[in-house]
Each structure stands twice: as C-alpha cells, then as structure tokens.
C-alpha cells in the first residue's frame, strides 16, 4: 500500500507494509527494507545492518508483544525524508518494558555463559541513530531513524 512514490527528491515519501504475526513473514519486511537501502545507495554492510535493525524489532514484537501467536498484525511504515530513513513499527500486543539501550557484557573465553538472546536491542541501538518506544492506548509504537547523506539516486 503506497502512499506516495519513494522518491529521494520528494520531501517525504512513505510506504506501509503489513504482515501477519509469523516469524516466517519477517524476512519479507527485511527484503523490502534492504531494497530501499540499496535504492538509496547505502553500502552493503550498512544496508544489511538497517535491515537487521528492523528484523530485530519486528521479531521482538512477534515473540514478546504477541507471545509468538499468529493471527495478529504488524504494521511497518517506512518513511523517507531527504536525509533520514525512518521506521514505525506498530502492533496491538502487550506492552513491553521500556527499550533501554543495553550493552553485551560477557567474557568471550567463557563459552558456557555466552549470550544466546538479548542481542536484538543492542543491535537496534547500535545501528539506528534514534530508537523510541511508547504505548498509545492499545497500540505499541516503535520509531527508529537512520540518518544518511543523500547521494545521487540511480536512474
């Protein structure tokens, strides 16, 4: 569902993407975001990391806000401003604890205590320039911004 064409020259362009709350659907969002990043001439690693931040956010929604239950919806609005790529992730699941930046503290030599989870938030805060979460009525809203320097778009 496109509101406006994705045009880097335009002041604001946005697109809404909607998936059902199944982990298998998250890759569709990831692939779409990677395509946006490629269109914006992001480097391969940066495009991967921005995709990763969104994938982590939506995976958290499905796992924790919806407790892994299918049949719910996750709505992602991707907004392109001249120097900022923004995501708004919307769900109607249970509210989550405040998304505070975390650091990964572990001893790389202590294999028995390596983290297997809890890395998603770290990744989101590391990759994105701004991460905000709040609840509005029955809706959870996660907003993430990534600033960039515009480059010549492809023809």
């Amino acid at each position: 569902m496109t509101n406006r064409p994705l045009d880097p020259q335009a002041a604001v362009s946005s697109i809404k993407l909607l998936i059902g709350s199944r982990l298998a659907n998250v890759r569709l969002l990831g692939l779409a975001v990677h395509a946006f990043c490629t269109y914006l001439n992001f480097g391969e690693t940066e495009a991967y990391q921005v995709q990763l931040a969104l994938v982590e956010a939506v995976t958290n929604v499905i796992r924790y806000a919806y407790d892994g239950q299918p049949g719910q919806e996750v709505e992602v609005t991707v907004t392109l401003q001249p120097q900022c790529l923004s995501f708004q992730v919307k769900d109607t699941g249970r509210s989550l604890p405040a998304l505070k930046p975390k650091t990964l503290e572990f001893d790389p030599r202590d294999v028995d205590h390596l983290p297997e989870g809890g890395m998603g938030l770290v990744i989101m805060h590391h990759v994105m320039d701004r991460v905000e979460y709040h609840r509005d009525g029955e809706t959870n809203l996660l907003k993430m911004d990534k600033y960039f320097t515009p480059r010549q778009p492809p023809p």
Binding site: R22, L23, T45, Y48, V111, L114, P115
Partner: protein
C-alpha cells in the same frame, strides 16, 4: 533449513544452503547441528558462504551450538560475508569464534 554436510579429515563441514539464518530458521538449524554433535562430531566448520543474512536469533543458535559442544569441541566459521561479519563484530562474537576465509583454511587451522 537445508544444510549440506561433508567430512574432511575427521572434521564435519556444514554448509547451510539457504540465504537466511534468521528467527524462523534458527530452531531447525540448531536442531540439525545438535544432532550432529550428539552423533559424536566434536570439530565442526560452519561454512556461511551461501548465507547473506544472519540475525541475532541465528547468531544465538550458533553460540548455542558452541556451548553444546563444550570443552574439547570446536566450532569455527568460514566464508562469512563482510556484512554478516559486521553482526559478529558489533556483538563481539568475532572474539568467540575463529573465522577463516574458506572451509579449507578452517580445516588447516583446526588440524595444524
């Protein structure tokens, strides 16, 4: 998740044949890896040359496999793409796993 496996010099080399090791693939991946570990494979090369996306769930599954191997086992990475390597770096997992450019280099590293 489809994973190709082969044994070279008593070392198990596993190559995921799918492009994404994410939350929807991590459980299956981990299950197959644990099966191999439980069948006695102690030295494993995980060849990620065909994988272009790993998320924290996939990374957590890889870490879990290393923990399952325990003392005396080894799990090393080969063929990782630069973008995916950036995930290992930002989570500091590049300090946990030995990373080699190819399965052949990994085997040499494990047997040398």
């Amino acid at each position: 998740m489809q994973i190709e496996d082969r044994i070279i010099e008593d070392i198990l080399v596993v190559t995921p044949l799918e492009k994404r090791l994410d939350a929807s693939a991590a459980v299956d991946f981990k299950g197959k890896m644990v099966d191999w570990i439980n069948h006695g494979h102690r030295r494993i090369v995980l060849d990620l040359s065909l994988v272009d996306f790993v998320d924290s769930s996939g990374l957590g599954a890889i870490a879990s496999c290393l923990k399952t191997l325990g003392a005396g086992g080894d799990l090393v990475i080969s063929g990782i793409r630069d973008a995916v390597l950036s995930l290992f770096q930002l989570t500091r997992m590049n300090r946990v796993f030995q990373i080699f450019p190819s399965p052949e280099a990994a085997i040499k590293g494990l047997t040398g």
